[in-house]
Amino acid sequence: MLEYVRYVGWRTMCNLNELGGIAHFGARMAYETFRPPWRLRRLVDEIYTTGVLSLAIVLLSGAVVGAVLGLQGYITLERFGAENSLGGVVGLSLVREFGPVLTALLVAGRAGSAVAAEIGAMVATEQLDGLRMMSIDPVDFVTQPKALALTISMPLLSALFVVFGIAGGYVVGVGLLGIDGGTYITGVEANITFSDEVVGSVLKSLVFGMVVALISTWRGYTSAPNAAGVSRATTGAVVQASVVTLMFDYVITALWGG
């Protein structure tokens, strides 16, 4: 019994320790973000690998999710004879939830895993130690541009996801199911307000971007210097980033008064 209590205490200390480590790590990256040199070159390269390379999967998923929402929404709304509200349903769902959340999950899987794996491999091949020996801080030189690129890419990807989703809903609702195009667009426009939906959506995707960025760089940075460590870091980054994203989604929705 006492042994169990001691075990719980030890685990708690470990978790608190880890949490403190992440917080300190995040703070260091935030500090380096606002301190010269700014490493624009590296940032652009990282936006390419995190943002541009995630574009295909995000746009495709956006269009498909929009189409599914259009179909499902239509089937449900038709029962109440309210199929003309389809635009509002599709638009609101996308902007409030599906855009930021699904984009974050996709980016965590596509780019977050790549970031964790790359940093983990750099740990395993002593590249980060190599930087340290050149008096270069790996947090500043390696992880910060990656984290910043993820944070910048996320709202942009999320916005594109929403736009493609609305287009996907349009194709299904208007093209296949015969709703009037003007009604659909009007429905979207009438239900989305800047101050509530759009600001909330951008806020969400920014926070999710930070979550994915922080967790994937941290897992890579603290990965054990061997192949098993890298694979654990990669899986851990995706799983943790996804779960924390969903938890933050609830918190933000509750606080924002969705």
Binding site: T125, E126, Q127, D129, G130, R132, M133, M134, S135, I136
Partner: protein
């Protein structure tokens, strides 16, 4: 390479008594005790080779001397500075006088070979791009590399990687060069080449060179001093001392290496 000393601020160079001293170091990974009161002095301007069976902590000792790894107990001095309790920021300053060549090269694989070597110059000096290019190319020449600038580390051979790593470790004109297993994974010819290169660098620059090595042959040829690690402690001496040592552990090691194929491989 030449005339570069002037650009590096004086406080970043470990001048004069550039040597490394390890005092009563203890270290354990979990339950596995690696060092148990290890002490050794690594002489200024000499080539010191850390020798020992695999798993005895050769690389670990090197990592501690670079400040990458902190011992559980004990002091490590580089020049007149103690590094085990040094904050990372001060350590960063100190490392401008340290060069390290990692076993796998540790080259950043997203950067070209040229950018890898130029990186420290770009980060820490205000040299123009043309001066940097001249210095990097002079360094390449010194290690016998040609036309590799635009290649990525993944595109060159192991021997070339070692040379690039050496060029990168040397570019800031360090006074202490730490080298982890310079000959691992190399063919006998490449071993000879790297060996000559290291000896030449040591003779012309007079820098303190500490390397780990499990090749007896090359060790005996190049070492000024040998630090033999066994059972968590160090036995230090000249090549002659070690060869004539009556310590049974050393004799066993040398005999095993001498009769095995590794002597042939290394020579």
């Amino acid at each position: 390479m030449r005339g570069a000393v002037a650009e590096i601020p004086a406080e970043h160079r470990i001048v004069g008594q550039a040597h490394v001293e390890v005092i009563s170091v203890r270290l354990a990974f979990g339950d596995r005790r690696v060092f148990d009161g290890l002490s050794c002095r690594l002489a200024n301007g000499k080539i010191s080779v850390i020798l020992g069976a695999s798993g005895v902590g050769k690389s670990t000792l090197l990592r501690m001397a670079s400040g990458l790894l902190k011992p559980d107990y004990g002091d490590i001095w580089i020049g007149d500075q103690e590094i085990t309790r040094m904050p990372e920021r001060k350590l960063r300053n100190l490392r401008r006088g340290l060069g390290m060549m990692f076993q796998g090269g540790a080259l950043l694989d997203s950067l070209t070979v040229f950018d890898n070597v130029a990186l420290a110059l770009r980060e820490h000096t205000k040299l123009s791009e043309r001066d940097i290019e001249a210095k990097v190319h002079a360094q390449f020449e010194a290690v016998g590399l040609k036309k590799v600038d635009a290649l990525l580390p993944g595109e060159i051979s192991g021997g070339m990687k070692k040379r690039v790593a050496l060029a990168r470790a040397m570019i800031m004109e360090p006074s202490v060069l730490l080298i982890d297993e310079p000959f691992s994974g190399l063919d006998p010819l490449a071993v000879r080449l790297i060996e000559h290169l290291l000896v030449e660098v040591n003779r012309t620059k007079g820098l303190t060179m500490i390397l780990t090595n499990h090749h007896i042959g090359s060790t005996m040829r190049m070492a000024d001093e040998i630090v033999f690690l066994v059972d968590g402690v160090a036995v230090t001496g000249s090549v002659k001392d070690i060869k004539e040592s009556i310590d049974p552990r050393i004799q066993r090691f040398l005999q095993a290496a001498g009769t095995g194929p590794s002597l042939e491989e290394a020579s």
